[in-house]
């Protein structure tokens, strides 16, 4: 009797795959919409000011400007998935800029130093990871402390702005004449694509969903978190390389703005503060939008000093829209 009742007789109540996709990805889709709106505003204002449409040079510049934030944001996304937060990305970025500005011309050469900088980023991230995952300290406290420490180290390395970034680095990472920037943007997304389809990706998202449940399913929650912070460290260091390449000289305070903008980018990209839900695709959209804002404000003749005001408004609007869209999508599902 019961097999019949629970099996064949019960009607299928599946939703169509497309509806599921829209409902489950509504935050990311929203961030794409925001990106499109920002791009439209940019095109419109650019045309009104200059009487021409932005050419590939302008677009390459935007991508180059966005790259540091895209990479830092990518790492931040991985940490946010675990229900954590990495404030120390700013410090790691500062260190890598300072190292690039003071050391790159000497010793092991540009490639060697680039790898060394990424390694140092990984070590910094591992330090965070050990404290969060094994000493079980709150992520925000740990990374607040390490942010200060890394900032301090950066100032030791480069007490006042200056130094010189080898032109080779600039030419390779952010050559405005050739759209190399796009290559790295795609590379960043490709890294995420692979991560999402690896065993580590499953562990990462399971951990962020529910640590007890993840443990019960045989996932090593601590190790997963440890590596999440390490990835964030590497990404922040990479962000530093792109930043240094673009600015061509060093500043030990370079990372400070990235602490908050990387978090803004992640949440503009539709991530959940409670872990388990985040996407590098969304974060990338968020990072590009945050970069575009500068240009949009410039062409709209808004004082650049008000930039953070508009960033804040944008975040509030995005979060509220995200809530509304999320509700609607759930009702649909």
């Amino acid at each position: 009797m019961s097999t019949q009742m629970s099996g064949a007789v019960e009607k299928q109540t599946w939703r169509s795959p497309r509806r599921h996709f829209v409902a489950q990805n509504s935050p990311v889709l929203l961030s794409v919409v925001i990106l499109v709106v920002a791009l439209t505003a940019y095109y419109f204002l650019y045309y009104r000011q200059l009487g021409a449409l932005p050419d590939s040079f302008d677009l390459t510049t935007i991508v180059d400007n966005a790259l540091p934030l895209v990479f830092v944001g990518l790492g931040q996304t991985v940490v946010v998935v675990t229900r954590g937060l990495d404030l120390s990305v700013g410090g790691v970025l500062s260190i890598s800029v300072a190292l690039a500005a003071t050391q790159m011309g000497h010793g092991v050469g540009i490639v060697g130093w680039s790898l060394a900088i990424l390694l140092i980023g990984a070590l910094a991230g591992l330090a965070n990871g050990v404290l969060v995952a094994y000493a079980r300290l709150a992520p925000i406290l740990v990374t607040l402390a390490t942010l200060s420490i890394f900032d301090g180290l950066a100032i030791m390395l480069l007490p006042k702005p200056g130094g010189r970034i080898p032109t080779v680095l600039t030419n390779v990472l952010t050559n405005p004449n050739r759209p190399y920037g796009l290559v790295f943007l795609i590379l960043a997304l490709l890294i995420w694509f692979v991560l999402r389809r690896s065993s580590y990706g499953v562990a990462l998202f399971a951990t962020g969903n529910d640590e007890t449940a993840a443990t019960a399913n045989g996932i090593n929650v601590r190790r997963t978190k440890l590596w999440a912070y390490a990835i964030s460290g590497v990404c922040a260091a990479a962000g530093g390389l792109f930043f240094a390449a673009r600015t061509t000289s060093g500043d030990a305070g370079a990372g400070t703005p990235f602490v908050l903008t990387s978090i803004t980018a992640v949440f503009l990209g539709g991530a959940s503060l409670f872990g388990g839900r985040a996407s590098a695709y969304g974060t990338t959209c968020g990072a590009v939008v945050l970069t575009l804002i500068v240009n949009v404000l410039f062409f709209a003749h808004v004082n650049q000093l008000y930039q953070s005001l508009y960033e804040g408004l944008l975040l509030v609007i995005a979060v509220v829209l995200g809530l509304v869209v999320g509700r609607l999508a759930r009702r649909q599902a």
Binding site: S2, S6, P17, H20, V202, N209
Partner: protein
Amino acid sequence: MAADIGGSAIEAIGLRKTYGHVLAVEKGDFCANFGEIHALVGENGAGKSTLIKILCGVTQPDSGEIRIRGEGLTLSDPQHARALGVGTVFQELTVMPWMTVAENLLVNDPPRGRSGLIARRKLPARAAEILATYGMPRIDPRALAAHLSVADRQLVEIVRALQRKPDILFLDEPTAALSENEVDWLFEKVKALREAGTCVIFTSHRWREVESLADRITVFRNGANVGTRTSLSEDEAVQLMTGRAIDRAFPKPPPLQETKPVMRVRELAGEGLHGVSFDLRPGEILGVGGLAGHGQRELFLSLFGAQKSTAGSIEVEGRRRRIRRPLDAIRAGLGIALVPEDRKAEGLLLAMSVRDNLTLATLPSLSQLGVIRWRAERRRMNQTISQLAIKSSAPSVEPVGALSGGNQQKVLIGRWLMTDAKVLLLYDVTRGVDVATKQEIYELVISQARAGKAVLIFSSETEEVARLTHRVLVMREGRVNAELTGTEISAEGIVAAAIQNQDGRSQRTSSEGNEVPA
């Protein structure tokens, strides 16, 4: 492979586990064999769940020995246990909420493409296959687990455990959230596993399930094994579990006085609720019955303002009341004890003290100019605690989360006894509670009715609805399908009325004469 039918599958010898200074398991001796279904019973806090957690590697014991297939070993983590063929369905759901059903089912073994990367596109089809194999094709593999009902989440959890084909399977309270059909489904699977030589160990608070399924029964009390038997009557079991004999008879509801109704509900409608009307008199215990998921929960939530009602009226003591949020309901004199579907207690503030939780809804009447009169508060609190026999070592400071499940449920009820609520809405207040506490809750319900309070009660155990009430509303598809009074009320009658069409014809065809749930 579980070849060795009848051979020892898993053994615990003298396990001991303490949490802080609380002794969870003291003399954890246990042995289950391949090819048997072994029930593990005991009151809440008797140590069953801890024992299971130890035996599947989630928790490490302080001392004692574990043997799997006769071989002594230490389980380092759940993965280790799983590699040895131990599977578990945990009492706390271990389904990841923001992952899809498919991702949850295949979390350990996702399909991979040629590149070695997980083929995310293949997940739904693979999961659908698994769900169909296990007779649950209804569940949508693309849905997020968070959007499933608790019952469906539990089913996903069960299917995930089954699909890993364990030789030794633990089921910790697998049926608490399931409907009768789903319980039957599970039991069939479990019996098939036994035939195949698997060792199945399960816990349940429903004696009918234990009785109908188990080959052997082990009783735990205060963290120790107090007996393993091949057959056990319910009375004996209760005696073993509690260490004393308990009167299992349901107390009789008090005689009803002819009075004006204290509450009138007319055509109440909302999501999942399509026009429900009833009167409730002081001292009356009105049961709400029917199969799970036919609007019972929605009825309670709507009456308490926790769910929006779109039509209908609620009158309390002759006054029409608009109840749009719980505060309106409290002001109207309604009190609700709603035990949430997953027992992690909505309604209780787990980190706050027993006192704070009890007096939460009463604070305005205990305060002067916004300052709590703490003497009065303490007096009222002590009254309620002794009335309900809530076991708490220091109610003013002990967080509710530290109490056992049964005591937490008492606090939930106690909160509304402290208010001057005229109507008590009790939704499944005995779920997951041990026999002794159940008995206490029955007595409490009856005494409240005797004191003139009106009670609306729902229970997932139909027997309780049948035995404690004056009248029963049987719900079907968000409406009252039948009203039973007097001698019409019986568990059989309620189930029959639940599956009848309104024209009175039974939809049940092949299942006539089946055992009715107790």
